[in-house]
């Protein structure tokens, strides 16, 4: 049998919750996380008889901002449709969404792949409202094997944008990179939290496989992937499953499959209720959404330097490595802090090193917040400058940094607290430290003097102790000289 080569084709539909104050069509808060069930509702988002939707302007602005950022072709007139289906989490039994006239068509997003940069095309971007949430429970409150269901409408009506990609993603890894790029983008723009775990970013995938050179295969929709890892695993599983079917001569069924994260498999969800005819038609309660040239311009102007643009610039302007540029542009606030410190006079190279190690580490440890930097840019600039000019050692600089963070003090005070002085140690200070170390390690001294330190290990040990005491402020050759003269003199 001739071995065949299969090509994977993936398209993603990403729902992003917009960071507005209120819901898409009513004044209720769009921040529903943690609220008591059904406390964040009003007659409109509950779809009570007689209520009507009023479009949230901020949501439109954020959708436009996103469209501008991906280079979408913004539609001056777009329209809302009703997507009709029965489900208890849908208060009106229809979702207000956009259908044939979304807010924008087209655009693209660059992602990193093994072979370098690749652009993933965007088909469309549209606005729609979220549904509520079903909670299933048994009589004793357990959620497994439920006997009753409850509905919480706190989320109903929260604004979403749906971004549909072209089927141009070729691997699960690329799918992950695409979602990462999208997440970074929505965060840069302040459009969304972009958090998959809490559901402010949700990803559905369409995946098909075909033999190389052959037409596209039958696509399968995969849902219920609640993390980047789940997305990648689900697609990898689906790839394997489809390949096995195809290579054994089987056919793929067009269907929706749910990712079961615990079992690590996708499961078909062919049920009657899913065989929807949504009966889309224009929502007569909402007029055409007409976007003025002025508003589009205003939104375009509000867009910051995009993550990939920033990265290109860092690579070019600061000769950073790919990895460095990736790290420093991973969050807009981090990049902004970097640029501020740079503007305060820090030399680039040592600053980049400092950012990617110390700043990132402190951030991970929860000591340093990019959004609200504990250390002002001038202070870090000075510190990095001292380091670069050899006025203080790397270890001393780290000490000072930590003292500044822990005690929330300025640079001078931190240096004093850390016992760090500019230009390193004075000869007297070094001498007293060396004497102290020798005093405390007389046995070692004795062995050295007896000539037992043939490999020089013992003297290195003493040097280490002295260096630690001096917090790295002394130059190693000075320490060695001093040690030898003390030992032998």
């Amino acid at each position: 049998m001739v071995s065949r080569k299969y090509v994977t084709v993936i398209g993603l539909e990403v729902h992003v919750q917009l960071k507005t104050n209120s819901k898409l069509f009513c004044p209720c808060s769009s921040d529903y996380i943690g609220a008591k069930p059904n406390s964040n509702v009003c007659p409109v988002c509950l779809g009570l008889p007689g209520t009507l939707p009023v479009l949230n302007k901020k949501a439109v602005e954020l959708a436009l901002k996103m469209s501008c950022a991906i280079g979408g072709n913004i539609q001056k007139e777009s329209r809302f449709h009703r997507k009709n289906y029965f489900y208890p989490d849908l208060p009106k039994a229809y979702q207000i969404s956009q259908y044939d006239r979304p807010i924008s068509f087209g655009g693209k997003i660059p992602i990193r792949t093994a072979d370098g940069k690749k652009f993933i095309g965007i088909t469309r971007l549209h606005l729609e409202e979220d549904a509520g949430k079903l909670v299933h429970a048994t009589s004793d409150g357990r959620l497994h094997g439920f006997s009753s269901s409850y509905v919480d409408y706190n989320r109903a009506g929260v604004p979403l944008i749906e971004i549909v990609s072209e089927p141009q993603i070729s691997t699960p890894e690329e799918a992950k990179e695409y979602v990462l790029a999208l997440r970074k983008l929505v965060r840069y723009l302040g459009v969304s939290d972009g958090d998959m775990e809490s559901g402010s970013m949700r990803v559905d995938a369409n995946i098909s496989m075909n033999e190389e050179g052959q037409p596209l295969g039958v696509k399968v929709e995969v849902k219920n992937m609640n993390s980047l890892r789940a997305l990648q695993r689900a697609l990898e599983y689906e790839q394997k499953r489809q390949m096995e079917i195809l290579s054994s001569g089987g056919v793929i069924i067009q269907e929706t499959r749910h990712w079961d994260d615990v079992r690590g498999i996708t499961v078909s969800s062919r049920s009657k209720e899913e065989a929807h005819d949504y009966r889309y038609f224009p929502d007569p309660d909402l007029p055409l959404l007409v976007v003025s040239e002025d508003l589009i311009e205003k939104m375009a102007k509000s867009i910051p330097e995009l993550p990939w643009e920033k990265k290109e610039r860092y690579l070019f302007e600061f000769s950073m490595s790919e990895e460095e540029a990736e790290i420093l542009t991973s969050q807009r606030e981090l990049a902004q802090y970097f640029e501020e410190v740079l503007a305060s006079g820090a030399p680039v190279k040592p600053l980049v090193n400092w950012m990617k190690t110390e700043v990132i580490r402190s951030n991970k440890e929860g000591k340093f917040d990019f959004n609200n930097p504990e250390i002002n840019p001038q202070a870090l600039a000075k510190l990095v400058k001292f380091l670069d000019e050899g006025k203080i050692s790397n270890t001393a600089a780290k000490d000072v940094w930590l003292v500044m963070l822990d005690n929330k003090v300025g640079l001078e005070e931190a240096m004093e607290k850390a016992g760090v002085t500019l230009g390193g140690l004075s000869a007297e200070k070094l001498e007293s430290i060396v004497s102290k170390v020798l005093d405390q390690n007389q046995d070692v001294v004795k062995e050295i003097l007896e000539g037992k330190d043939t490999k020089g290990k013992k003297i290195k040990f003493l040097m280490g102790l002295v260096m630690r005491e001096t917090r790295g402020q002394a130059k190693p050759q000075n320490v060695e000289e001093m040690l030898r003269s003390k030992l032998h003199g």
């Binding site: 007659p43 779809g47 009570l48 009106k92 038609f281 007569p284 309660d285």
Partner: protein, 489 residues
Amino acid sequence: MSVRELSAREIAGLVKRGELKATEVVRAVFDEIKNNEKKLNALITIMEERALKRAELIDEKVAKGQWKEKALLGVPVVLKDNICVEGYPTTCGSKMLKKWISPYNAGIVDYLEEAGTILIGKSNMDEFAMGSSTEHSAFGPTSNPWDLERVPGGSSGGSAASVAAGYVPLAFGSDTGGSIRQPAAFCGVHGMKPTYGLVSRYGLVAFSSSLDQIGPFTRTVEDMALALDVIAKHDYRDSTCWTGNRPSYSEAILNANIKGMRVGVVRDFMEEGLDDELAQAVEKGLGILVENGAIPVDLNLGDIKECALPCYYIIAPAEASSNLARYDGVRYGLREDADNLLDQYIKTRGKGFGDEVKRRIMIGTFVLSSGYYDAYYLRGLKARKYVCEKFKEAFSNVDVIVMPSTPTPPFKKGELVGDPIQMYLSDIFTLPVNLAGLPGISVWMGLNSTGLPMAMQIIAPKWHEVRILKAAAKIEETIGACPLAPGGE
């Protein structure tokens, strides 16, 4: 003179001057209701306690010299039971919402209260405003106050009967295809459907969102203008509500002059399918206008009479099928428990809705279904456009158009219930006006040879209610204001 004979304007005047107490008005109204409601069944909910409290407040304010600026001070008002009043049921004439208490006020309820009215009750109607006889109500049929054997028309039959019988001088209904004008004609009162978008739909339970409009029933044209002054306001809660400035309708009809007004008459409409005496009534009305200086113009509206009915019975049910989908037993209203969700939907909706509503939901679901959408819904939209264009053409030559309100005088109860098509045909002259979003009035034209009310319809281009009111005022000068119906004694 008894209270029931007074117009809204007269009551407001007397109450403001302290010559009539609001509490006396309310007592008189409830006496009237108690005497006649058994035979008329015009009201679903009677709000006696609320009305008395409100009247006491008004009397208090008047005694202190306050509230004199309120245009409808002390005027008792009836609302169709699809207009929400906070704390009271809004049944829509359906079992489905029999026990549903609205937690909020409709836009017009706020406006009416602000103007000093006293809400008396909620009136009977065809279920969800679907019908032309008020026989399709879960609360039994309403009788025509001119002949208790006959229907009052519909779907706002209860409101029309309330005004005709002298319960109140002012009532409100909703008109989707003639549901104000047809019962007005049958009950011998004036009834107006304003331009789509002139009056807020917020709090009007939707039947067909792109056609529904709230309007008044009165016995004088002056009251009609006064009512419009109060309710025709821009309401941000209804995105389809017109933002333009409304004139003072009361001022506009003072010393109305219609000299030179071009009055179109559609000769095709006056031929087959129209009751002879009603045709004569239109001729008579036209004659009165001409005597007052208007210029008659013969018009051709193409095939709108032929295409309006099928067009309407595609668009209205399509929207209704979506608007009524929310009545699923999950959140409010009737719920029939079942073992699973699908059965709960089927049982709840099976029991909660009457036949006519079910009929229209099925038609609407069908015409929106994939595969039938183009053949029905899209063609319906095209036909609607045609109707709009024909009217536009016509209004380039004339200022108003006169035509019959209904093809027949009020029919007998039970006569058409088994024949939906004949029932639908009773709106043949009113439907096109809704499709084009135009304002139209049904104006009282006296009694026919068998003692039943006759009427004529006057329509105008969008936002030109003033023209209609001026013409109607001239008719009323000759024909007289609407008399009280004998059945209400």
